[in-house]
C-alpha cells in the first residue's frame, strides 16, 4: 500500500511542474500590457514605465521570469495581485472558503436527490419512474447552467420573491469571518437571523451548481445498482424472504456505492468549472468570479496563481479519490 501511495504521489510531480509551466507561459501570452491597464489610457513617461517594468520583473528574459516564479511557488509565494497589491495566495485563501461552501452544498443537494432517484429508477427498472429519472438526468446533464441559473432567479427571486438575487449575505448583517464558511460563522455569531439569511442565499446557487453532478450521480447510481441487483447474494437475500427495503438499503446500496463514490470525487473539476459560471451569475464572492475578474483586469499574477491553485486542488482531490479507491479495491492497488 505504501508503495502504491508513493507511486501515485511521484506521478503528480511532473504534472505539477507541467501545470506551473502552462500557467506561466499561457498567461504571458495574454494580449495587453498589465502596466498600461493599471494606469489606464493616460500617457506615461517612458522612463517611469521602464522603472515599473523592472520593479515587477517584467523586463527579465522569460526563462528567468519562470525560474523566479517556480522558486516563489515552491516557497508559497505566488506573487502579488497587480491591482490590489495583496499576495495572490492570501486572496485565494480568503475567497476559497466561499467556493468550497457553495460546492459542498451543491454536492449535498446532488446526493440528496440523485441517490434516491438512482436507486428508485433501478428498483423500478423499465417503469415510468425509471424513464422519468433517466430523461430528467439527461436533461440536467445537457443543461447550460448559466441559463438555468437565470431562469431560477427569474422565477424564485423576481416573480415569487422567495430568494435573494445575489451575494452571500444581506447588507443588514455583519458576520466576523472566522472560518470563512459563512454558515458556520453566522451560526456562531451573535447576529440574530444571519444564519437563515446565509442559508437563503445559498439555496439557488447550490441548485444551479449541483444540477450536473445530480444528473451524473443519478445515472451512475442507477447503473451501479442494476449491476449489484443482479448478483447472486441479492438472490440469496431475496430467497431468504427479506423485504425489498432491507435488500436494497442494506445489501445492495453498500456495494453499489463504490463506483458512485469515485464518480463523486471526479466531479470536483466539474464543480470548479461550474463555479466560474454560477459565481458570475449570483455575484458569489468566490474564486470563480475572482478568476474571471482577473482575466478582465489582465491581472497576470492573480490569474496565474489562481489557475495553478485550482489545478492543484483538482490534482489533490483526484489523488485522494485514487488512494481511497485503491484502499477499497485491492485489484487496483496491485495492478501495474
Amino acid at each position: 500500500m505504501l508503495k502504491f501511495i508513493a507511486t501515485r504521489i511521484a506521478l503528480l510531480i511532473p504534472t505539477f511542474l507541467g501545470v506551473t509551466l502552462l500557467a506561466f507561459f499561457l498567461i504571458r501570452l495574454v494580449p495587453g500590457d498589465p502596466i498600461e491597464v493599471r494606469l489606464g489610457e493616460r500617457g506615461i513617461d517612458p522612463a517611469r514605465l521602464e522603472e515599473m517594468r523592472a520593479q515587477l520583473g517584467l523586463d527579465k528574459p522569460l526563462l528567468e521570469q519562470y525560474a523566479d516564479y517556480l522558486a516563489g511557488v515552491l516557497t508559497g509565494d505566488l506573487g502579488r495581485s497587480l491591482i490590489t497589491q495583496t499576495p495572490v495566495l492570501d486572496e485565494f485563501a480568503e475567497l476559497f472558503p466561499a467556493t468550497i461552501e457553495l460546492s459542498l452544498c451543491a454536492i449535498l443537494f446532488a446526493l440528496i436527490i440523485g441517490l434516491p432517484a438512482g436507486v428508485l429508477a433501478a428498483v423500478k427498472r423499465g417503469g415510468p419512474l425509471d424513464h422519468g429519472v433517466m430523461a430528467a438526468s439527461l436533461t440536467g446533464y445537457s443543461m447550460p447552467i448559466f441559463w438555468w441559473g437565470l431562469l431560477l432567479i427569474l422565477f424564485f427571486s423576481v416573480i415569487l420573491g422567495w430568494t435573494p438575487v445575489s451575494g452571500r449575505l444581506s447588507a443588514a448583517y455583519y458576520v466576523e469571518p472566522v472560518t470563512g464558511f459563512l454558515l458556520i460563522d453566522s451560526w456562531m455569531s451573535e447576529e440574530e437571523g444571519a444564519f437563515l439569511d446565509a442559508l437563503h442565499h445559498l439555496v439557488l446557487p447550490s441548485i444551479v451548481l449541483g444540477t450536473i453532478p445530480l444528473a451524473v450521480i443519478a445515472r451512475m447510481t442507477r447503473s451501479s445498482m442494476l449491476e449489484v441487483l443482479g448478483e447472486d447474494y441479492i438472490r440469496t437475500a431475496r430467497a431468504k424472504g427479506l423485504g425489498l427495503f432491507r435488500i436494497v438499503g442494506l445489501h445492495a446500496l453498500r456495494n453499489a456505492m463504490i463506483p458512485v463514490a469515485t464518480v463523486i470525487g471526479l466531479q470536483v473539476g466539474t464543480l470548479l468549472a461550474g463555479a466560474i459560471l454560477t459565481e458570475t451569475i449570483f455575484a458569489w464572492p468566490g474564486i470563480g468570479k475572482w478568476l474571471i475578474e482577473s482575466i478582465n483586469r489582465r491581472d497576470y499574477p492573480a490569474l496565474q496563481g489562481g489557475v495553478l491553485l485550482v489545478a492543484c486542488v483538482v490534482m489533490l482531490v483526484n489523488l485522494a479519490v485514487d488512494l481511497l479507491y485503491g484502499l477499497l479495491n485491492p485489484r487496483i492497488r496491485h495492478a501495474k
Partner: protein, 294 residues
C-alpha cells in the same frame, strides 16, 4: 416438403440501424439534429428576417401568443427590435459550425497524438500522456477561458479554445484502443506484408478503433456547443451583434425582469441542441458497441 428460406444476415449498416432505431430517444435526437442542420444550412431562406435588421417601432415585443405580441415576430423582438426567431435560426448555424469545427480540430489532433502514443509507446507515449494529464488537471471551462483570453474573444477563437480542452479525451481513447489492437495477428500480418508504420496506423489499426471515437465525437458536439455558449456568455466568445446563443443571452441579461423571452429562448435553443446530440450519442453507443453500454 418444407420450404427452407435462407435469409442473408443483415449487413453492418442494416444491423446498426436495427439497433439504433429501437432506441426512441436516439431517433428523436437524430430527427432534431437533422432538422437543426436543415435550418442552419438554409438559414437565409428559413429565417423571416435578416438577423441584424432592426425594427425600431417594435422594440421588446413579446412572443405572438402573449398579449401585445404579433405573428409578424413569432418569438418577439429584442431590445433594439431584432426578430428573435431569425436570430435563433442564424444562431443554429453558428452553433453547429462551432460544433463541427471543434470536433474536427480536436478529433484530428487527438487521434494523431493517440495513435503516436499508442503505436510507438515508450518515450513518445510518456510525453504525450503526461501532457494530456496536465491539460486534464485544469477544469475544462477554466482552460477554455484562459485559452480564449490569450487568443482574444471571437467565434473561431472560442472554438479553438474548446478544442484544446477536448483533445485529451480523444487522445486517451485512441491510445487505449490502439494499444489493445496493435498486438493482434492482423496487425502483425500487415507488418510482415511490408506495410509502413503510417499505413499500419491509419489504414490497418484506426478503422478498428472507430466505434468509440464516433460515439465520443457525437458527444463532443454537445460539449463544444455548451462550452462555446458559456464562453460567449462570459464575453470571451463570439461578440455582439453576432447572433450566437450564449452571446445573445449575456447581452440581454439586463432585460431579465422586463422581457423574459429574450433570455428564455436562446437558452432553450442551447438545451434542445445539446440534448439532441446527447440522445443521439447514447443511441450510437448502444448500437455501435455493446461493450461500452453503461
Amino acid at each position: 416438403m418444407t420450404d427452407l428460406v435462407l435469409k442473408a444476415p443483415p449487413g453492418p449498416w442494416a444491423e446498426f440501424w436495427g439497433h439504433f432505431r429501437r432506441n426512441k430517444g436516439a431517433v428523436l435526437g437524430l430527427v432534431i439534429v437533422l432538422a437543426l442542420s436543415f435550418v442552419a444550412i438554409f438559414a437565409d431562406f428559413v429565417a423571416p428576417y435578416d438577423p441584424a435588421e432592426q425594427f425600431r417601432d417594435f422594440v421588446l415585443l413579446p412572443p405572438a401568443w402573449v398579449e401585445g405580441g404579433s405573428w409578424a415576430f413569432p418569438l418577439g423582438t429584442d431590445d433594439i427590435g431584432r426578430d428573435m426567431l431569425s436570430r435563433l435560426i442564424h444562431g443554429a448555424r453558428l452553433s453547429l459550425f462551432i460544433g463541427l469545427l471543434v470536433v474536427t480540430l480536436s478529433l484530428v489532433v487527438g487521434v494523431a497524438l493517440g495513435l503516436l502514443a499508442g503505436f510507438y509507446g515508450g518515450a513518445s507515449d510518456t510525453l504525450i500522456a503526461r501532457f494530456m494529464d496536465i491539460l486534464l488537471a485544469l477544469p475544462s471551462l477554466l482552460l477554455a477561458i484562459v485559452v480564449a483570453a490569450i487568443l482574444g474573444p471571437g467565434l473561431v477563437n472560442a472554438a479553438i479554445a474548446v478544442s484544446v480542452v477536448i483533445v485529451p479525451h480523444y487522445a486517451r481513447l485512441t491510445r487505449a484502443s490502439v494499444m489493445a489492437e496493435r498486438g493482434r495477428e492482423y496487425v502483425t500480418a500487415a507488418r510482415l506484408a511490408g506495410a509502413s508504420d503510417a499505413r499500419l496506423m491509419l489504414v490497418t489499426i484506426l478503422p478498428n478503433c472507430a466505434a468509440p471515437l464516433i460515439v465520443q465525437a457525437t458527444l463532443g458536439f454537445s460539449t463544444a456547443i455548451l462550452d462555446a455558449a458559456a464562453l460567449g456568455f462570459l464575453g470571451l466568445g463570439a461578440q455582439p451583434p453576432t447572433p450566437e446563443w450564449g452571446t445573445m443571452l449575456s447581452s440581454s441579461l439586463q432585460f431579465l425582469q422586463r422581457a423574459w423571452w429574450v433570455v428564455t429562448f436562446p437558452g432553450m435553443a442551447i438545451l434542445i441542441t445539446v440534448l439532441a446530440f446527447n440522445l443521439m450519442g447514447d443511441g450510437l453507443r448502444d448500437a455501435l458497441d455493446p461493450k461500452l453500454k453503461r
